[in-house]
Symmetry: C2
Subunit: 360 residues, 2 copies
């Protein structure tokens, strides 16, 4: 397979399109999905061609630049372009409910346009250029945040640490560098010899398909596990740290992440292994006081009933398929961010993330 | 699909062959595998065409009857038949290492032959008939044990209980009635309205393929879950009891069962949900003092990396595939047996199972 530059080109702006690594095809095929309109980008998000909270945020930012660009080219008035932009913004907001980064990016570019339109001194071309520059900025900031986060996190790892991770909080889940795996990449850059156990992460196998792929691609020792075998390696004392990403972190530190994260945190706690959440600023949601306020997406039961497109259960059997669970703050040893490593009690320590992230 | 009688005809003796429901083909196809020699029966056990500790015990018992029958028909002397029988007995013993029922059945029929040969007053035909009668007895006893176990266990469930189970400890895992699912079937026979959440049970999806199939076949409400979503339904308070089978129970109550049972017990404990092991006598191993002495089978990493021949991970990726884990006695609320329900401390309570099951 064609090798990729690193940080991975997860989301790019090319020839007036949003170009994504099609993650539904990995690890079998490395192909790019070129989204030339908002419906195709929404589809890419819903179908998980791009997934991972920070990567969705970046894709949504470029999506708004695309929306403006397409509507501007129709020769409409600024008012009409803005109306259409708001419709597209709502469509992008409706794709996935849990990842806060999506709404964060849509808000950020939405407010930029709102301000520029209200100021009244820019034309549609200039506003489009500002939007694209802002999307570029969202991407560049994400990579910089992941590098800072990785650096802060790698200091928690010994020279020969073994890390257990769940799902894919890697380069592919972000602008290219990764959060949980960003810590691993940063440790490698610091000369450490890190090994990783990767949960395969049913139902969609992001661990098997994506985490194993990108770690192997970067020359890091990786061993795949069924999700239910993680308890065994924790009990065997093979794991020095569990590190996962997060899709939304409430004001008290409760963290929503891929289904299966919560039981992993319970097991890590039982076996005295530190459990870390690695996430950039944009994952924090100070408006949600605790995990009870986080809406959990339920996905199609077919994802459970099928395995890689093949029917694994009797036809017509019911299935329950929550996409995320919430790990209570009490089980999280620390939250690794680009602003440093935060420890409990999170309700006070997380306020240091900045005024914008204080509870309102 | 053709409907089956209940208890399910998991292992039968037909036309001088051991006939098995081929569980590798369920739920897509209901086919019987006819084993006319020991290598094909060993293959059926290794390939999991027959699986589940009690069912393996029954298959091994009929396997020894088959061995004697085949060797007797060659016209060899009694001594030579016995030698060949012992070779076949060793081959059957080498198929799977964890399920104690396999060794229990091989010992039981082995000792019968040893005694009959030593007594010197039976010919090869008579010994063959005694062996086949003994195998029939192992099967009949298993069904009777499962019925008794189911009856004892169903008394622990309310009229509208929701049960969570892992893997398949059902009719298909036994002589036809089931252990963990035997409790559910007995509750249904007692007029209770039981619902079941079934973990799909990676890597081989016995929950999706077998448990969902046999519960649906028996008209019991079943909802399939990814293994890592079990923590969520436990936390949501949807589960009244977790019930699993066991492959081997040590003298202190530590219980080996399908990988993923241990984390389920930890989660049940955290959420105050009773965790029950359901197993017949033959699963108890008084010679193993605790879980540390239970050998855990490691199976082919390909089971994790592939599914139905489809690659789910990058080629060449390493995988760790322990087939079982050990749930410590402290997490087991009770052990449901055909002799009643046993509570901690198991090291003393389990002795009531009988003189043969006391530690030696």
């Amino acid at each position: 397979m064609q090798s990729l530059p690193f940080p991975f080109p997860v989301v790019q702006w090319q020839d007036d399109r949003v170009v994504l690594i099609d993650q539904t095809l990995l690890p079998g095929k490395l192909e790019f999905r070129r989204c030339g309109d908002i419906p195709s980008l929404c589809r890419a998000i819903v179908e998980l061609a791009v997934r991972g909270a920070p990567a969705i945020g970046v894709a949504a930012a470029y999506g708004l630049a695309l929306s403006w660009d397409l509507n501007r080219k129709t020769g409409r008035s600024l008012g009409r372009i803005y109306e259409a932009f708001e419709v597209d913004r709502a469509a992008l907001a409706a794709t996935r409910p849990t990842a806060v980064n999506l709404f964060w990016a849509l808000d950020r570019l939405g407010k930029l346009v709102e301000n520029l339109v209200a100021a009244g001194d820019r034309d549609a071309v200039e506003i489009g250029a500002a939007l694209l520059a802002e999307a570029d900025c969202v991407l560049a900031e994400d990579i910089a945040m992941c590098r800072a986060l990785g650096q802060a996190g790698q200091e928690l790892l010994s020279d020969t640490a073994t890390v257990l991770t769940h799902c894919n909080a890697g380069g592919l889940a972000t602008g290219g560098y990764g959060t949980a795996l960003g810590v691993v990449f940063a440790a490698k850059e610091a000369g450490k010899n890190i090994s990783v156990y990767a949960d395969e992460t049913r139902p969609l196998l992001q661990g098997a398909r994506l985490t194993a792929w990108e770690l192997a691609d970067q020359g890091i020792d990786v061993t795949l596990l069924c999700d239910s075998a993680a308890a065994t390696v924790l009990r065997q004392g093979k794991i020095d740290a569990v590190i996962t990403g997060a899709d939304r972190i409430a004001a008290n530190g409760d963290s929503a992440n891929k289904i299966g994260t919560y039981p992993l945190a319970v097991l890590a706690h039982r076996h005295g292994v530190p459990f870390y959440i690695a996430a950039p600023d944009s994952t924090f949601d100070p408006h949600t006081p605790d995990g009870d306020g986080i809406r959990i997406e339920e996905r199609d039961p077919e994802e459970v009933v099928q395995f890689h497109g093949q029917l694994a259960a009797p036809p017509g059997v019911a299935a329950y398929n929550p996409a995320f669970d919430v790990t209570p703050a009490e089980l999280i040893t620390a939250i690794i961010t680009d602003k440093g490593v935060f420890r409990p009690p999170y309700v006070s320590s997380l306020r240091a993330l900045g005024p914008g992230l204080e509870p309102k």
